[in-house]
Amino acid sequence: MPSLAHFLHILAETKGLFLNALLLTLKLTVVSILIGIVIGLFFALLKISKFKIAGFISDTYVYLVRGTPLIVQIFILYFGLSGIFLLPDFWAASLALALHNGAYIAEIFRGTIQSVDKGQMEAGRSLGMTKALTLRRIILPQAFRRALPPLGNQFIIGLKDSSLAAFISMNELFNVATTLGSNNFDEMTYLLIVAVYYLVLVALMTFVVSRIEKSLAVSDR
């Protein structure tokens, strides 16, 4: 184990080097989560639609994603598709992470949409609102709110999973840490430093999610 003094010294010394990596990790995480939310919502809606085939497509997607390792998915998007078209590494990683998060987010949304009392849909319909309008104005806002705690959890997982982008040579936090660590023959110090960066990011993310939760909680039962 490195001494605390050594650790703090290296932490301060390398903060410039880590800054870009940190920004890249954040960018990967935010982009993949935003796209993942859109994908998740899309497949959740497919799943709850009355068309069996739509539900089947959604189930298949979730099964494929949950049934294979993320690193395999990243490699398929980056290397596997290279014969057809070359995806820039950032987008290969972002899309793989988004498709991956999307499957879990789809399950989260499906659950919270179905957890909204069916009387809500009936009330909307009884007022002459269409199913789509009731879904958009009445059901989804309630489902989103309920989805926030599990979504926050998924965001944290997504943040940490972004470290796998290191394996397609993206200079995000983990990659920079291992590279610097081996160059300086000081792996442990750099791993601890990167752990601290992740912990700080997770704390920030938890804070932001809980603020959003609070601001939406005004009407809670």
Partner: protein, 247 residues
């Protein structure tokens, strides 16, 4: 009969799987009439009511609302439902919207009424149900009776010709039942056509023009309150009245 027919049900049948819930129902509701549907639990009252605004799909028979028979798939049910308001046992207010937002939701989103106008009309409705001071409150802060009165105002905001009530006071604490019944009575006095599923025999006696007693999916007896309560014709009605009046 001069009064206009508002609802006409002709040989309505409905099953859930093997369970035949509505059996050859025939019934007419005239303009400004209040019809109270009574009967034991599971007799099909809610199902009948829900067929009337097509929340439940009938198997066979005709449902005529106003002038024409409504055929799902041919007629726009959303348009029909705008004219047939519904009040639910469990209120079904939108919890993420304030009282005012609950009321203006359908007028602004469905009828595209300008927001200012919808708000002004909502406030009139709120004062009518005695809740003008609750406009900006969320439903979670209301008592059951207040919630139900908001639900009534919300349905009225679409200016329906007919109002359906499915046990509107059954989920309420006893001391809150009165305020909701009073609101409904006022509505009846204004000439609203109403079909009310209820266990409140006092209300039925006082407000209803017709009482319909259902048992096992059939209409057993239909009569004016005076006749129905004092001189029931059917044995099963007598039995029903004996057991409910004891409570």
């Amino acid at each position: 009969m001069d009064a206009k027919e508002m609802i006409k049900i002709d040989n309505l049948n409905k099953s859930f799987g093997d369970l035949h819930v509505l059996k050859n129902i025939n019934m007419t509701v005239y303009d400004s009439d209040v019809v109270c549907l009574v009967g034991a639990s599971g007799s099909g009252k809610s199902t009948l009511l829900r067929c009337l605004n097509f929340l439940e799909k009938k198997d066979s028979g005709k449902i005529i609302i106003g002038e024409r028979e409504i055929i799902p798939g041919t007629h726009n049910l959303n348009k029909v439902r705008q004219k047939v308001g519904m009040v639910f046992q469990h209120f079904n207010l939108f919890p993420h919207k304030t009282v005012l937002e609950n009321i203006i939701e359908a007028p602004t989103m469905v009828k595209k009424i300008p927001k200012d106008q919808a708000i002004a009309e909502a406030k009139v409705l709120l004062s009518k149900v005695g809740l003008e001071d609750k406009a900006n409150v969320y439903p979670s802060k209301l008592s059951g009776g207040q919630k139900q009165r908001v639900a009534i105002a919300r349905a009225l905001a679409m200016e329906p010709d007919i109002m359906l009530f499915d046990e509107p006071t059954s989920a309420l604490d006893p001391e809150l039942v009165g305020e909701v019944l009073t609101t409904m009575k006022e509505l009846a006095e204004e000439g609203m056509t109403m079909v009310v599923v209820t266990h409140e025999m006092g209300f039925a006696k006082e407000v209803a023009d017709w009482i319909v007693y259902m048992n096992e999916g059939k209409i057993v007896e239909l009569g004016k309150p005076e006749e129905f309560f004092n001189h029931p014709k059917e044995e099963r009605t007598k039995e029903f009245l004996r057991t409910t009046m004891l409570k």
